[in-house]
């Protein structure tokens, strides 16, 4: 088969699997698990084949026009360069791991068939985004991901948190998608094509008429999808969904779509220096803010969610300094270790019966209950904190190196201000990342107190996947940084000495300071008993998680934080702790700015409808009602009256007829 056929099969197979799963879910439950896992695995194999055949050489392009549209043509187009080939492999790996993990995680879940089908559909949409060479086809995948995310975040729809989170995720991403769509049309209007290769040609030769406007409109959609400030608020709340969904959607694929989109169209963004500075500022605020917020979260998955936002900030930062190789390198390594972190967190939540770090810090021997999750999570946290030689170190250093390169004014692609913003925020975030990674590890695995409950071994499907993902988290960065430039733009991705020393030094300081703070505060833990666990700890993993999500707010008073004096983050953040736990009250600001006005407008419309429009309608009905009342009085019930009236009418009609006939 040709490379084009193989590449076309990659997104089609999970799509067919999703359809078959939805159709057969009720009638043939035995087929659901193979239908969920096999198409995804096959498309992973095909994606690897495509990557091998493409091999980082010239991009594979194929296009077929289904029907003429009248103006700008829309084509089913493939555009597979080194970025697309490798990101598709990442999506395939993570999606396969998540599907296998879900078999164990949602073993007893009655809605597993629809869940697995939606995950397959989601995978297919992401692969479509990755391979598509036409922006409208890309947009189709982009929106399918949005709706799948809505359904999957709301998987535990019995809990109010999940319902609210799914609607929030959908609305906030749509808030970015509307400008995104307008931006796509503006881009096509300027360049006369939706096809990526033609757009890039047009930008390279003629430039754009409105580069800043287009770039900012597209950035809004990217900020929504990739959870960048100020549209990031949906991502922490989306942790109300099942853990494998968090791993797939909110760590490795959907949020990566925005970064990947900028990487594909980087010349369009680079055409406007203002857009690049906005992108850099967005990345800087996102990185630093999410690092502080992650340090204060109590829910283990919300820590990881904020960490995802921060790492995505690194990627957009790399794009702001016009180095898409570094951005996609970090996307690849982050996809591996963040998926691993989430999946391991799912195992831990199942074992501990709670998602609260405060409760875990009061459990002894939790790490002995889940040795696989303990070791793999340690690897992934070290990768997250960018400690050499784990993969996160190399990818993060390539980002910081690119920023340093730009800030010293060695390049004309990006403004030096963007370089400084990204570099400083990146270094600060390196410190914060190490701090919250250390806090997470210490609270979860070094707890003291009553022993953690023992439910026996975790299912094999859940633990094997962790080790599969631990391999790239451990080794990919070191092995890949020499090979990847051949696949990407050819720019060097090797870590530079200055940023490596600075970044690693800051990370070590962050870890050590957190350890010292934890040593200081952990003595309080015994004095303040905390810790509510799920009502059915012996149940399936998904049931335990749903109960943990629903129980966090009643048990600890807040969905994000817990009143725990033994938390080292209280000592580290001081007065910042409360706003950081609440995400710097951005939700409250949005409530005032958007939710309240919309609600007020809705009540105004309701008033206008009920009181104004209805008044006219009722008034118009008054006259007929009066007439009806008057006519009703004639209905006396006496038949003789009726007959009299009939007779009188007949006589009148007869006289009239006679008069008319006689011509009088």
């Amino acid at each position: 088969m040709t490379t084009t056929t193989l590449a076309a099969l990659v997104p089609v197979l999970p799509f067919l699997g999703a359809n078959a799963g939805l159709l057969l879910g009720r009638t043939a439950p035995g087929f659901v698990r193979p239908l969920a896992v096999l198409p995804t695995l096959t498309s992973l194999v095909l994606a690897v084949l495509v990557a091998v055949r493409q091999g980082g050489d010239a991009a594979v392009d194929a296009a077929t026009e289904l029907t003429p549209t009248g103006s700008v043509p829309i084509e089913l187009a493939l555009h597979i360069d080194g970025f697309a080939a490798l990101v598709a492999v990442l999506v395939g790996v993570v999606a396969s791991c998540v599907q296998i993990y879900s078999v164990g995680y949602l073993r007893d879940d009655p809605r597993y068939p629809s869940y697995a089908a939606l995950v397959s559909l989601f995978t297919s949409a992401m692969l479509l985004v990755v391979y598509s060479g036409d922006l409208i086809v890309l947009l189709v995948g982009w929106e399918v991901m949005g709706i799948c995310s809505y359904f999957l975040v709301g998987h535990y729809w019995e809990t109010p948190e999940a319902r609210a989170a799914s609607i929030k995720a959908f609305l906030v991403t749509k808030l970015g998608d509307v400008p995104f769509l307008i931006g796509l049309f503006a881009l096509a209007g300027d360049t006369g094509s939706f096809e990526i290769t033609k757009i890039l040609d047009a930008v390279a030769h003629d430039g754009l008429d409105h580069p800043t406007l287009i770039a900012l409109l597209l950035l809004a959609g990217v900020a929504g999808k990739s959870a960048q400030f100020p549209l990031h608020t949906w991502l922490p709340d989306a942790m109300a969904g099942p853990t494998p969904v968090s791993a797939l959607i909110h760590a490795a694929t959907m949020v990566a779509a925005g970064v990947y989109f900028i990487a594909r169209l980087l010349p369009v963004f680079a055409a406007s220096a203002a857009a690049m500075v906005v992108l850099a500022a967005m990345a800087a605020i996102t990185m630093a803010g999410s690092g502080l917020a992650a340090l204060a979260q109590d829910d283990i998955k919300r820590v990881l969610a904020y960490s995802t936002i921060g790492q995505l900030g690194y990627m957009t930062g790399a794009l702001a300094v016009a180095d898409r190789g570094a951005a996609v390198f970090h996307l690849l390594s982050h996809g591996a270790f963040k998926a691993l972190l989430f999946l391991a967190a799912g195992v831990i939540i199942h074992a501990a019966g709670t998602n609260s770090l405060a409760a875990m810090s009061r459990m002894g021997h939790l790490r002995d209950r889940v040795p696989d999750a303990y070791w793999t999570m340690t690897v992934a946290l070290l990768a997250l904190a960018a400690i050499p030689p784990f993969s996160g170190f190399f990818s993060k250093e390539s980002v910081l190196g690119a920023a340093e390169h730009v800030s010293t004014g060695h390049t004309e692609h990006a403004p030096a201000a963007a370089g400084w913003l990204v570099l400083l925020a990146g270094l600060l975030t390196a410190l914060l990342t190490a701090a919250y990674a250390a806090r997470l590890w210490l609270l979860a695995f070094r707890g003291r107190g009553a022993d953690a409950p023992d439910h026996g071994r975790q299912p094999l499907t859940m633990t094997v996947v962790l080790w599969v993902l631990a391999v790239p988290s451990l080794a990919m960065g070191g092995l890949a940084y020499r090979l990847l430039p051949d696949w990407f733009d050819g720019r060097d991705l090797a870590p530079t000495l200055t940023t490596s020393v600075l970044g690693t030094g800051l990370a070590l300081i962050g870890g050590i300071v957190t350890y010292a703070a934890w040593r200081h505060t952990t003595a309080h833990a015994a004095r303040v008993p905390l810790g509510a666990v799920a009502a059915h700890p012996e149940g399936g993993a998904s049931l335990v998680e749903a109960e943990a999500v629903a129980g966090h707010e009643p048990a600890y008073g807040d969905i994000a934080g817990a009143a725990d004096p033994a938390d080292p983050s209280r000592l580290l953040l001081g007065p910042l702790h409360h706003p950081a736990a609440a995400g710097f009250h951005l939700d409250a600001v949005y409530r005032v700015l958007f939710v309240r006005p919309v609600q007020a407008a809705a009540s105004l419309v309701q008033f206008l409808d009920r009181e104004v429009v209805d008044t006219y309608v009722r008034a118009a009905g008054t006259l007929p009602r009066w007439l009806g009342t008057a006519v009703r009085r004639a209905q006396t019930g006496n038949v003789q009256t009726y007959v009299s009236a009939l007779l009188a009418g007949t006589v009148v009609l007869a006289v009239a007829a006679v008069l008319v006939a006689s011509g009088a």
């Binding site: 019930g637 006496n638 009299s644």
Partner: protein, 134 residues
């Protein structure tokens, strides 16, 4: 005999019948008045038939045939009418038409208060709710 005599007689009979139908209280007398009206019509039919058959060369006497029909139908009608009057009398203890006013406005179990202006709107709202809930 001149046509005027039977015509005047039948007009008098019909008016008597109309008066009886409109003015009598007792249902049986009303029925008798109806019979008077019918027979006034019968008289007209026969008289005009005879008058027309004088000038016509050939006639089927359809007026007289129609009279026979009317008589037969009137017999059936009065049978049913009297049965109804009997049933009403057994149920209500009266056959006075003035007192049989069940169809009057504001009477009967399922009728709402006519003074309430919104009764129609309320009924419409209830119907909407029933639709929405199904």
């Amino acid at each position: 005999m001149h046509l005027a005599y039977p015509a005047v007689l039948s007009a008098l009979l019909f008016c008597t019948g109309v008066y009886g139908v409109l003015a009598r209280r007792n249902a049986i007398l009303v029925l008798m008045s109806v019979e008077l009206m019918l027979n006034a019509v019968n008289l007209n039919l026969v008289a005009f038939d005879v008058w027309l058959s004088r000038t016509a060369e050939e006639t089927l006497h359809s007026g007289q045939a129609l009279t026979l029909f009317t008589v037969a139908i009137a017999a059936a009608e009065i049978g049913i009418g009297l049965a109804i009057v009997l049933a009403v009398y057994r149920n209500r203890g009266t056959s006075h038409i003035d007192k049989l006013r069940d169809t009057a406005e504001g009477h009967g179990p399922d009728d709402t208060d006519p003074s309430l202006p919104d009764s129609d709107a309320l009924a419409a709202e209830q119907a909407e709710k029933a639709e929405a809930s199904t």
